[in-house]
Amino acid sequence: MLMYVIVVGGGKVGYYLAKTLLAEGHEVAIVEREEKICRKLELDLGDILVHADGSTPAGLELAGAGRAQVLTAVTGQDETNLVTCQVARTFFNVQRTIGRINNPKNETLFRLLDAGTAVSSTQIIAGLIQREVDTRHIQKLLPLATGKVNLFELDMIESSPALGKAVADLSMPPGTLLVAVMRAGSVIVPDGRTRLLKGDRLIAVAQSDREEELARLLFGAEA
């Protein structure tokens, strides 16, 4: 589905984001406060620049926020991105708003103030580093529904009590689901008969209150 996406902030993130979205066929507007930046981006991106303060109702009105399916605020300032998302939702009823944040703790505020989704590059990079150094055999890949459900990656190790068992015999806890088994370079979508072997990498979905149960099932005491 092609959408009208408003990008607030014409810095590097905004520029490449707009370019990517345009290449996918979406209609895009960049809202940028600095006139000089607007003129510069126009040379490359054409007539999609709106010279205005995107954190104000007047600025978003100018960008036609009333008909936008998505608004994303990617200036370098957390506070501007937060207020922009709030304005888009409360004044223009934009359904999907995404704000870029530097301080991962601001994610809580986004949720609390119903400002939409917060994306923290700091958090993403820290998460990737954590995965490298984490010695546990279960890794969180992706939070879904703001963390109520998570996608996990699990490595089948020698000591796993589930080793050699068929999925049907595992008695997976309610609220969890095994969705893929990666084995020797190929991906198997498992059914009840699929047996788990050493070296398998499993992809599972689990409600956040069932994570520990899932880990215990697959790794026993070592979880």
Partner: protein, 142 residues
């Protein structure tokens, strides 16, 4: 009362001075260490180096137990964010933000933020002064 003032510019430092003079306990938060030079003589006022848009900094300043918080940095959006953080996360009873742009009015109303707009206050005062000048038959007060 225990009051946190976020922003130690000309306005924040003056406010801290008045509040402290009136006998209140005051903590001032600013990310720029040089800004505290404005209040070096206020020995009763606590200083905290940190940014107001950081929950940890506000908590460290005492946001959990303060009676009031005033957001007076020079960025409107930062003040709006700080005010919402104080109200929603720390449940501070009295919260006031400074906004410079008079056009933020409808936005503040929607978000339920109490604010003072120095630009509007100054414009009103200048208007009044001019008008009283006209009433006296002079182009303003001398």
């Amino acid at each position: 009362m225990f009051i946190i003032v976020v922003g130690c510019g000309r306005l924040g430092s003056s406010l801290a001075r008045s509040l402290s003079g009136a006998g209140h306990r005051v903590t001032v938060v600013d990310w720029d260490p040089q800004s505290f030079e404005r209040i070096t003589d206020l020995t009763d006022v606590s200083q905290l180096l940190g940014t107001g848009i950081d929950v940890d900094a506000l908590r460290q300043a005492g946001a959990e137990e303060c009676d009031a918080l005033v957001a007076v940095t020079d960025h409107d959006n930062a003040n709006i964010m700080i005010a919402q953080t104080a109200e929603q996360i720390f449940k501070v009873r009295h919260v006031v933000a400074r906004v410079n742009d008079p056009r933020t009015g409808p936005l503040l109303e929607r978000f339920g933020i109490r604010a003072v707009c120095p630009t509007q206050l100054a414009a009103d005062a200048l208007f009044e002064t001019l008008q009283s000048g006209w009433a006296d038959g002079q182009p303003g007060q001398r």
